[in-house]
Structures are given as C-alpha cells and as structure tokens.
Amino acid sequence: MLNAHALRQLAEPGEIINMRTLRFLLQKEFRQIFRDPSIIRIIFMMPSIQLLILPWAADYEVKNIQLSVVDHDHSQYSRQLVNKVTSSGYFKLQDYSGSYLNAMQHIEHDEADLVLEIPADFEKKLIRENEATLFMAINAINGVKANLGGAYLRSIIQDYNREVRLKWVQLPRFNPELQIEVTSSNWFNTSMNYKYFMVPGILVVLVTMVGAFLASLNIVREKEIGTIEQINVTPVKKYHFILGKLIPFWILGLLILTIGLTLARVAYGIVPTGSLLVIYTFAAVYLLAVLGLGLLLSTYTSNQQQAMLLSFFMMMVFILLSGLYTSIDSMPAWAKAITRVNPVTYFIDVMRMVVLKGSGLKDISTHLFTVLGFAVVLNTWAVIHYKKRS
C-alpha cells in the first residue's frame, strides 16, 4: 500500500506543488508585513503626510519678498509706485528709508531681498522728459527668489508705467513707443494651480519608495537575520523566492497609489482627466521596474544600513533628475541623458499627462514600452546576480 508521501513523489507533476509553495511564501510575507508596525505606519502615514503637507511647501510662487525702498524723491508718483508694489501681495515693505547704504545693510543682514531705489528727480523727469530711471538691487543668495522677485517687480513697474501713461493720454493720438501686450491662456491647468502639477509627481515618488526600497530592505533583512540561509538550504526555487518577494510589494505599491489618488481627490480636488485604467496599467508595469531595481539593490548589499544609504542616494538622484521640481528641458545634456534612464521621469510624465491632459494608452505607449524595457533588464540582472550560494 502506498502512503501519501510515496504517492506524492510518484505523481510529482511539479506545478501544483509549486503553486502551493508560492502561495505559502506569499502568505508568510504578508503576515510579516502586517505584523511590522513600522511598515503599516509607512504605508498609511507616509502618503498622507507627504501628500497633505509637501505640496503646500513645494510652491513655485514666491511670496513675502522683503522689499526695502530707498525713496530720494518723496513725491506723489513715488508713493503711488510704492503703494502699487506693496499692494501686489508678493512684497512686504521691510523698510522705507532715504539712504541706499541703510537699505544695503538690510540686505547684508538678510532682512531684505530687494532694494528699489527711486532717484531724487523721479517725478520731475517723468513729467518733463517723459522718462525716468529706477534702480533695483537684488539679493541673489536664493536664486529662485531673486529671479522671480526681480521679474515680479519689473512687471509691476511696467504696469505702473502703462497706468501713468493712460492717465496722461486720454486719446492715444500717437504712441510714444510701440507697446505689445501679451495675454495668455493656460491649457490643461487653467488656473496654473501648481498643486495639480506637484501632487501627481509626489505620488510617483511615494510609489517608487515603497516599491524599490521597502522591497530591497525586506530582502536584505532576511540576509542580515540569517533567515535567507535557512531558505537557501531548502529546495525552494530561486524564482519562487523572488516572486514571493515581488508580488507583495507590487500589491503594496498599487495600494499606496490608490490611497494617494484618493487623497489627491479629497484634499485637492484633483480628479484625473484621463482614465484611471491608464494610470493603473502604467503603474503595474512601472512597479515591476522599480521592484527589479529594489531586488538588484538587495543583491549588492549585505545589511540594511548599506541598503538604506544606497536607497537614499538613489532617491535623491531620482527625484532631482526626474523633472519633478525642475524642467528637464533646461538641464545640461548629460543630466538629460540621466533623466532618460530614470524610470521615475517616465511615471511623473505619464501621471501629469493623464491627470492634467487626459492622455490615453496610445499617447503613453512609448513611455510604457520604455519602462517595460527597464523592468525586463533590471529583473533579469537581479535574478542572475541573486545566488543561493556563494
């Protein structure tokens, strides 16, 4: 009579038993993930914190520029000008003095960002000679603030210039200088709300972190504790073990994406113009690529500290060279080359395309296939490099 064990060995078709092993590996993985309070915190707190707080801080509009006005004129026109500048909402009048040296001191103490100097005969010249000069000194330590502050001030002064002229010349018999006025309309983000643009990007970073780094940390932890050794002496196949690690984090990544999209809708009213299906299709492929990266990281590191530091470094590169904060078009050629091999770039682009513009699968197919390529290369590399013995 055959006992159960012998029967199984006779009828070793493999596949059924293999599925059972994989199912058990997955079950074990999920148990561990949901038993680890720090992971639960990361899964639910991280998206909330990052999505609810960061977009408010990652604001491209520069506000509260400290302005120091040096008024040598003290005329009606100069006062009108200062009034117009301060009432724009971008500037805060830090001080109003009569000496440039005094104002410069404020700049030196970092109390002022901009100095606007109005010369003594500003009003007189403006009326008599039909032109006047102003001087602007900019604190360029913070490049963004200096650039934008200068530009804001310049456009306010231009505006003022036009107003003054309008008052003088009721009927434009002839224009002293040619004026072109430009009006623009913002497509896809009509109110130029930067949050519509930032939130999808930040969400991509979140999904990437969970996918690549939680997965790599998880595997490295098994190395560190020595449990991988116990697994390695068993007949568990390499691809079983790897699938057992990839699938849970693939699901977690999609879960984070769902939480993030819900938060974006609830907190910012961002409803993707395009189809959610397109986002999820891309995310599914994208997660394969970043999970492959995480797997690769884990095969090259031997403890969690190394994995952490490496992840940290990679994340910095990924974020800064992904077009999340800065435009890729304005980067030097070598940086552009890096953005092309950065999977984050593609997902951020796709998210913005789908959320703001409503792009469909056809529009993002190039992105999709590029990321699929990444997934294949990274996973193959990782599987080859993962050894069950040394």
Binding site: K28, I225, G226, S390
Partner: protein, 309 residues
C-alpha cells in the same frame, strides 16, 4: 556506505592580500546513522565546513558528498534531504512557532502532520506556546524550535552548527538526549561544538583546529591514545603553583583544570616525583594524585602538539 564523505576540502576567503584560509584540506567519513562530533575552538573552520556540506558554500578545492550526492553537482538533491540548523537562530522572529514550522514543512513539500512522530518528543515541549512569536522565546525554546524545523522534512542527514553555544547546562544536557533519540531513528547527525566535554557524547569525534583535522576517533579511542602519565595537583596558592610546575623539568604541559591543575608528565616521571619536587619548593602538603585522562586532556595535548609544529 558512508553518509558523508569529505575529501581534501579547501576554502579560502578574501582576495590577494588578506587571504584567510578557513579549511586546509579536510578529509573524513561519517557512517550512516552515526552521531559525529566536530570539536574545535572558534575560528577553526567548523561553520565553513558545514556550509560547504549543506551546499551553501562552494569549496575552493577537494570534493565532498552527502548521501552519495556531490555537494557541487547534485546540490538540488542534497537540499531535499539534509536538515541544517545554523549556529545563529535564523527562523522568522515575527512568525509564531506554529507558523515557522508550517512554513518550513510547506517549502519542503510536506506537512507537519506527516512527520509529526519524528519531532514529537521535541516539539511537544514547545507546543503549548505555539502561538508565541519565535523572537519572544527563550534560548532553549528557540533551539527546540530550530531543531524541529530542521527535522520536519525527515532529512537523512542533520547538520547542527554549534547548537549548544549560549545555552544553559540543563538545556545542553536535554539537547544531547534529544540527539541520542534521533540517532535511534537512523538519522546521521553531524554536530559541531566548541565544548570539549560534549565530545564524549558522540559516537566519533573529529578534532579540528586552524582548518585542519588533528584526529578522528571514537571518544574511547581518543582517551586510550593518551599514554603519558597525568596528575592533578592542588594547593592553596594556585597561581604560584602553576608557575612552579611549569619550571619542573619533568613537566610537558601544565594547565588549570577546574579546582586542580592538570600536569602532563614526561615518561619516567610520576605523582611521587611531582610531590617531591613541590616539597623541595616549600609546599607543605601538596595534593597530588594520578588520574586517568579525560577527553579534554587529550584534546589539549593534541592541540599543543599541533601548535608547536
């Protein structure tokens, strides 16, 4: 048929400049169903040897077989039939006792039920706590769990790497009793330990030092090979006594051993000559007696000889 054969195994770590040779050509055979001990100090190469035999590490030279299967070529088949318990507790600390056992049973394509009789004696002791997480267990309980997990697929050869290190005396004794009963089931057991007193509990022992095997013998054989006179000496000032003894011309080796000093004498000397020598050096009533060497004395002697070479 031999269950485990190691033939001139070599292993080196590190590159060019910092080469550490862990194994310098190790050869031995283990009989089927034998309880084979590998005794040696820390850093002797015990773990490297076990990792090669369990197919976790590739040897740099030599061959080895487990159950007639080559450790390099047939590693897949070996993994089906060996149980390995590493020196460090390496089960999932965040899974419970039961979950760990179930997990390892499943990945070996078996169930706990199927081989329960094999682990019953061991597992029944920790079964009342089966819902407790492995990380929260005491050292002795962890060890029992690890042994259960290594046995759950009914291996034909069991490798235990320093199973008793860091375990209290009572648990150690219990553990060896468990090994004796496993041996009765026909499982070949290789166990490594730094504790020489455990050698006498094995069928045969190999003494390993600096990556070389000094001797392979049964515990009795090891003791019988010790032919020199051995005395135990005790006095009130033990430190001074040891220094004086080492200056005595008839002494080959003297070392502290519990409350006595053990003194290995050169041929032709005896307890009386030691006693006379000590009385000449102002020891009034030194306690000197001839004793039969135990396994530790044999190992100390072997290690001293190999160290001098």
């Amino acid at each position: 048929m031999y269950s485990v054969i190691a033939n001139n195994l070599k292993k080196q770590y590190g590159k060019k400049k910092d080469v550490v040779t862990a194994l310098k050509g190790i050869s031995f055979e283990v009989e089927q169903g034998e309880l084979f001990g590998i005794i040696g100090p820390d850093g002797a190469g015990k773990t490297s040897l076990f990792r090669i035999l369990t197919t976790l590490l590739l040897p740099d030279g030599g061959t080895a077989s487990v159950d007639g299967l080559d450790v390099v070529k047939d590693f897949k088949a070996i993994r089906q039939r060996v149980g390995y318990m590493p020196g460090r507790f390496s089960l999932y600390q965040d899974l419970t006792i039961e979950e760990n056992l179930d997990f390892f049973a499943t990945i070996f394509n078996t169930t706990v039920k199927e081989n329960y009789d094999l682990i019953k004696d061991i597992y029944s002791q920790i079964e009342p706590f089966k819902d407790r997480r492995a990380g929260k267990l005491s050292g002795g309980m962890k060890q029992k769990l690890a042994l259960s997990c290594a046995l759950i697929h009914k291996p034909s050869v069991l490798f235990l790497d320093e199973p008793t290190t860091g375990v209290d005396a009572v648990s150690r004794k219990e553990f060896w009793e468990m090994l004796r009963s496993l041996k009765k089931q026909g499982i070949t057991i290789l166990v490594s330990t730094p504790y020489m007193d455990e050698a006498s509990l094995c069928d045969r022992v190999a003494l390993i030092q600096n990556g070389e095997i000094l001797s392979v013998n049964s515990p009795e054989g090891v003791i019988n090979s010790f032919r020199q006179p051995l005395v135990a000496v005790k006095d009130s000032n033990m430190l001074q006594l040891l220094n004086d003894l080492q200056n005595f011309e008839g002494v080959q080796n003297a070392y502290p051993f519990g409350e006595y000093h053990h003194v290995v004498l050169k041929d032709g000397y005896s307890a009386n000559t030691v006693s006379d020598f000590l009385q000449q050096h102002n020891y009034h009533q030194p306690d000197v007696k001839t004793i039969r060497a135990d396994i530790e004395d044999c190992f100390i002697a072997l290690m001293k000889v190999s160290g001098e070479l």
